[in-house]
Structure formats: C-alpha cells, structure tokens
C-alpha cells in the first residue's frame, strides 16, 4: 500500500517537473508554417517517373519461384508469430508460486510463514507443493550397469 502511494507521489512529481504529454504532429499547422518545404515535397513526388515504380506484387504474381518463396516467408512469419504469442501466454499463465524455487519453499522461514498463515494444513500443502517440484528419479545400480554396457 505504501509502495503504491510512493509511486503515485513520484509520478505526480515527475509530471510537474517535465512535460509528459504525448507528442502530436499537426500537418495543417506545419504546411502553414513551412509553405516552401511543403511545395518542394509535392513537386518531388510528381517528378518521379511512373515506369520506375517497383511493383513487387506484379513480379510475385508472374514468377512461380517468387510465389513459392513468398508463401514460405509468409508461413515462417506466421509460425514465429504464433510461437511468440504462445511463449508470452505461457509466461503470463505461470502461477505465482512457481516464481519460488523448491529450495526457497522449504527453508525454515518459508515453512514457518506457511504455518503462521494457515496452520498445519498450509504447512502440509507447502511441503507437498515443494515435493512435487523437487526432482526425483529412479536410478539403481542395475540401471547404471545396464547403461554403461550400452
């Protein structure tokens, strides 16, 4: 609560000290203020020859190889986008408790906190959660021998 209050206070202080409003471009005002520059810009666009325009779409539509390449680029881009979304989703979906490592969950302090919070039930739940996260794996001498024999 205090931290939030502090942040609010800090935001207000910053706002008072500097202009934090979003910058906006007013085209009409700019045209009126700089008529010469505006005219030069319009004339340059008009001078460009029509034939020199690089029509990407028409090239793609005419060439078979270009069509395949464009399709591949499109598929890869979509795949990467989905993977990115999925990763972000996973990051968001992770429960808060996973932020704590199993070792942190089983310190004396952490277990005590659980007990103070919810008695035996909370203590037992914390132990069980940590046990599920702690690595366990079956490894017998027989496994080791079998593995080393290839």
């Amino acid at each position: 609560m205090n931290e939030q209050k502090d942040e609010k206070w800090l935001d207000e202080l910053i706002s008072r000290s500097i202009d934090t409003s979003e910058p906006r471009f007013d085209a009409e005002q700019w045209k009126q203020k700089y008529p010469g520059e505006f005219q030069a810009l319009v004339e340059r666009e008009a001078r460009r020859p029509q034939a020199a325009r690089f029509d990407v779409l028409s090239i793609v539509m005419r060439s078979r190889i270009a069509q395949v390449a464009a399709a591949a680029v499109f598929i890869i881009a979509v795949g990467l986008f989905i993977a990115h979304l999925d990763h972000r989703g996973q990051q968001r979906g992770q429960p808060e408790q996973l932020a704590k490592s199993p070792a942190e969950m089983v310190t004396s302090a952490s277990l005590r906190t659980a007990y103070n919070r919810g008695g035996m039930k909370a203590l037992e739940e914390q132990c069980d959660r940590a046990a599920r996260m702690l690595g366990q794996g079956l490894l017998s001498m027989k496994d080791v021998v079998e593995e080393s024999n290839g």
Partner: protein
C-alpha cells in the same frame, strides 16, 4: 611346580610348529578378510532416507492426487497406484532399514537460522505416503499383520523426522496423523486376530515412550533465534521475517534503534517469553489451563508491541507460532492415545467375541479433558469421544472405529 619352557605344552608346540603356524595364518585371514571386503552399511538413517527419496520415480499430477487420496482412504486401489507403489520397492526397502536405525542426522545447517533448507520435510511426506499406500495395498490382499507393520515403520520414521526444529516436529505430527488414520481404517476391516493386535499394542506402547519432544524443538528454536538476533546475522533474520525490506534498510533500522545494545534487549525480551511458554508446555497443567496461560503471554507480547516497546519486535513475530504448536501437540497425542485405546477394545473383542460394555481402566487419556475417553457402541462398531473441547478448533473430537463382521 611345572617348568613352562620345558613342560608338556611347549613340547607339543615345538613338535607341531608348522601346522600351528598355518592355523594361525588361516585364523588371521579368516578374521581379516570380511572386514576388508567392503565398508559397513551407514548407521545414519538420514543417508538411507535421502537414497530412498532419489529412488522414488516422479509422479505426474493426476497420479500424485490419486496416491494422496488412496493414502487417506478416500478412493479405492487401482492399477496405476499399485504399479507406482510397486516401482517404489527399492525406496520402501531403504525406508524400512532406515527406520530401524537409532541415529538420524539430516545434516541441517542450523547456523543458517531460518534460511536453513529443510527439503527432507517435503520428501519424507511423499515417502510416508508411499509406505502407507503399500500398507493399504497389503491390507487389500488380507495381509493385515504386514500392513500394520508398515504403519509402524512410518511411525518410527516420524521419530527420525525429528524434534530438532519446530517445523520438523509439526511435519512429524502430520505424518503421524496420516498413519493413525490408516491404522484406524485397517483395524475396522481386519478380522480379530489376537496375535496381530497384541503385537500392535506392544509397538504402539514402545513408540509412546519416545514421542516427538516439543521441549527439545523449542530449546533448539530458542538457541537458533537468539543466535540470529546478533549484529552479524540479524539482517538475514529480518529478511526472513519481512522479505519486502532490504538488508540495508533493516540494518539502518537496527542502528537507529541502538545497534547491539538494542539487539541485546530484543534477545532478553524473546528469551523471557520463550522460557515462559516452554515452562507451560512442559508442565503437566491441564489443557484448558495451559492454553489460557499461553494466551495471556501472547496478549502481553501484543500489549508490549502496542505500547511501542521496540524490543518486542522479534518476540511478536515469532511467539504466536509457538502458541499454536501447543494445540497441535495436544491434538497429536490425543489421536495417538485414541488409537491405543481402540486397540484395547479390539483385543477384548478378539478375546471374548464381544465389544466391552465400558472401557477398561488405566488406558491412555483424552488430553483435552484430562480424562478417559467417552466410549459409545455404534451400529458399525464403537466411538471414542474426547471429554474436553479443542479450543483452537472449537469442537469436541470424535473418532469412529468400525468392527469387521
């Protein structure tokens, strides 16, 4: 008098010198070879438990839930549970051997104070569950003697879980509770086998002579905390108690309050209250009286804090947990006493073919009321009821025991 050098013994030795030498050599080899063959097995149970933890295959989410529910008797046996417990055979074997050892040193770093890692407490619960599940599987096959022996193994393990820290004592009680619930279920299903019941009576009586000692854990707790309320370690303790505060902030706070002189006051305050609570817990005062006195102490600490006695800061953070522990202790011991009393009833039933009309004398008591349990016959068996109220839970505990037809 016979001259030893010239006597008959020396004469025999001189005549059979070579055979004698060979015999001596063989004898030496016979004694030495087994010793040199391989090192002895560990005598520290914890080493075997740690191996057992590593030997348990990891369970996925649904199986983990099933195992827990089966252990608590909420669901019946299925193939998945049976296969999983079967795959834990090595761990079960290690746990049984470990439970019979006297020494159990988990290798905890007490010098770390509350930052000490106690991962074994999480894993011992899983191991305990596997053993209890194994007991229930054996019971489903009609192997009740073996099933009860497995439960006794878990109760022995709880003694190893320990009374070296408050938290380990609590985890030990929780595991005990799980086991007694299983024993209660098994007793309700098994046919009246006098020999098995008498063995159970002996085992439970032996375990009751070495209960988890809250006195021991509180003494160690006090030592650990007092050691932590020192300039070189106090920032760690404060970090554990208030993770939102940085070590620099904590140290500044302590220095503002007077540094080491202030910490000495804190140690004195904490020690005084801990000693009072410990003396009540260790006393034979009746439950209601002891609880009232502990509550008074807690209220006094609260008052100290409200009166801005800064030296009460550590006591206020640490003592409330101690107050709750007393209730847990009474609950755990009463449950153990209930099962021991029930075993006596089952023994009478096995001897006479009938449940007793009243409880025999000299049985373990309900610690909430300080008297014998109230005994009632029910349609399915019998019920043991506490005579005193559990003031933390605001209820009178009742324990139902079924009798197999």
């Amino acid at each position: 008098m016979v001259d030893i050098v010239k006597g008959p013994i020396m004469s025999v030795l001189r005549k059979n010198r070579m055979p004698m030498l060979l015999s001596a050599l063989l004898l030496t080899l016979g004694v030495a070879v087994p010793v040199l063959a391989y090192p002895p097995d560990p005598n520290n149970a914890a080493l075997l438990y740690y191996q057992a933890f590593l030997s348990c295959p990891k369970t996925d989410g649904p199986l983990d839930t099933q195992l827990r529910d089966f252990t608590e008797g909420k669901i019946g046996l299925n193939k998945e549970i049976e296969d999983y417990v079967g795959s834990c055979r090595s761990a079960i074997k290690l746990a049984i051997v470990a439970s019979e050892l006297r020494e159990c040193d988990w290798g905890l770093r007490y010098s770390e104070g509350f930052s000490m890692i106690m991962s074994h407490l999480a894993q011992i619960r899983t191991l305990g569950r596997i053993l209890i599940a194994d007991a229930r599987i054996m019971a489903s096959r009609g192997e009740y003697a073996e099933a009860l022996a497995r439960c006794i193994t878990v109760l022995k393990i709880t003694r190893h879980v320990g009374d070296k820290t408050l938290i380990s004592t609590l985890v030990g009680w929780a595991l005990e509770g799980m086991t007694y619930t299983c024993i209660q279920d098994l007793l309700g299903k098994m046919p009246g086998d006098l020999k098995v019941l008498e063995q159970l009576r002996i085992d439970l009586a032996a375990l009751s002579k070495r209960p988890l000692s809250v006195k021991n854990s509180l003494q160690i707790e006090r030592e650990v905390v007092i050691e932590q309320i020192k300039m070189n370690k106090v920032s760690n303790l404060l970090k554990d108690l208030d993770p939102n505060r940085s070590p620099e902030e904590s140290m500044k706070l302590i220095m503002d309050y007077g540094g080491e002189a202030f910490l000495e006051q804190c140690r004195g305050h904490y020690s005084k209250y801990m000693t009072s609570v410990m003396s009540i817990i260790e006393s034979d005062a009746p439950y209601a009286e002891a609880r009232r006195r502990i509550t008074e102490i807690f209220e006094q600490v609260d008052k100290d804090q409200k009166n801005k006695k800064k030296e009460a800061m550590f006591t206020a953070a640490l003592v409330p947990a101690i107050a709750k522990v007393y209730g847990n202790r009474i609950r755990a011991t009463t449950l153990a006493n209930t099962v021991r009393t029930a075993v006596e009833v089952y023994i009478i039933k096995a001897q006479t073919g009938q449940l007793p009309k009243v409880l025999p004398g000299g049985l373990p008591k309900d610690l909430f009321g300080g008297e014998d349990f109230e005994y009632k016959k029910t349609e399915e068996g019998f019920m043991l009821q506490c005579r005193g109220k559990d003031l933390d839970k605001d209820k009178i505990h009742q324990y139902e025991f079924k009798v197999a037809k």
